[in-house]
Point group: C2
Chain length 204, copies 2
């Protein structure tokens, strides 16, 4: 059974198998695609992967991802953005999701994860001290906690709320609404979501 | 909306989106994983992708994939393999699937695809003349047509069967059995598969 595939192809399949959610079959499919692709496709993908660390860095204020030649996230330095409203998110890509709504004109703060004792992530590993500093420095009026609707996201939201109050900082704290997503029939909504939707009902 | 993500990250997402079956969300997930991965992971994946074309070539006899420093597929040159039995497959990875059964001791021939007028693939683009040459050179006794169970695979099997006969080559031609896969309940088998299973029933 040894040596069914060329050594270099086995190696490429192994390397591709490190990507999240990619099993052996998918890695084989990607590898075979790359084997048949033009070299220029391989070269540009290869270069993009190799150089990503040196071309991207983290904003020292908001912890959003920025280009290596920028000093601060343009979503913070831009004078059109309201620095007194801060949306707190878990990961940098969450910013993209919120920006796509086109509804938010405040600034962002990336925690760098959520509190998760199982994964060994405590509040100390998150960018919480930097958030508290911003709340004071920028005279922030509202913090919108936009962590995920998971157990970890909820715990983190609760922790943040208490932590900000304990620090004696007076600021409005809100959380993204929970309810029925657009396009979903009532009968298919799970009971926790439905309970949240009832609790958060709005007067018309 | 411009410049939500660093330019280098957008570029990496675009490049990863070329992989088969990878949409924008999956590409974002891969890119974010690579951004957080150690540089040595990125370097080895990057190198494996860049070098794959120069390290892998096609066997000139069987058209299986081989290492660049090999001359012929070891599955052909190995004296334990019976050169008078040839399994004809569409793609190089099909060999891996058949080898995993551990049941086949013959040799392989990769067509390089299947006849598909819609995709503009005719018999001329497949390695059929090379197969006919092998049938004569190696005094082949049996050809097992192991193309896919798709319309294209069936057409190719039919074409090959006629083409070999028209060339006046006397050889036994067989096709992989069609029937109910292991572990599948009768009630879930589709009617064509069931018809094949009935047609190919075996006396006990």
């Amino acid at each position: 059974m040894a040596h069914l595939l060329p050594v270099a192809l086995e190696k490429l399949i192994d390397e591709l198998g490190r990507l999240p959610g990619v099993g052996a079959r998918t890695a084989e499919r990607y590898a075979y695609f790359l084997l048949k692709a033009d070299q220029h496709i391989n070269t540009s993908l290869s270069t993009a992967i190799h150089d990503i660390h040196s071309l991207v860095k983290t904003c020292p204020i908001t912890f959003a991802l920025i280009d290596a030649d920028e000093t601060v996230s343009p979503l913070y330095s831009n004078s059109d953005r309201d620095k007194t409203v801060v949306a707190v998110v878990e990961e940098p890509l969450d910013i993209v999701a919120l920006e796509r709504t086109g509804q938010f004109k405040g600034t962002y703060h990336v925690l760098g994860g959520a509190i998760s004792p199982i994964d060994g992530v405590g509040p100390d590993q998150l960018h919480i001290p930097e958030l508290l500093k911003r709340l004071v420095d920028d005279d922030v009026k509202e913090v919108i906690i936009a962590t995920n609707a998971s157990v970890e996201g909820e715990s983190t939201a609760l922790f943040l709320q208490r932590h900000i109050k304990d620090a004696g900082i007076v600021v409005a704290i809100s959380r993204l609404a929970r309810g029925i997503p657009v396009g979903v029939d009532l009968e298919y909504a799970d009971q926790i979501t439905l309970a949240h939707a009832l609790e958060g009902r709005r007067t018309l």
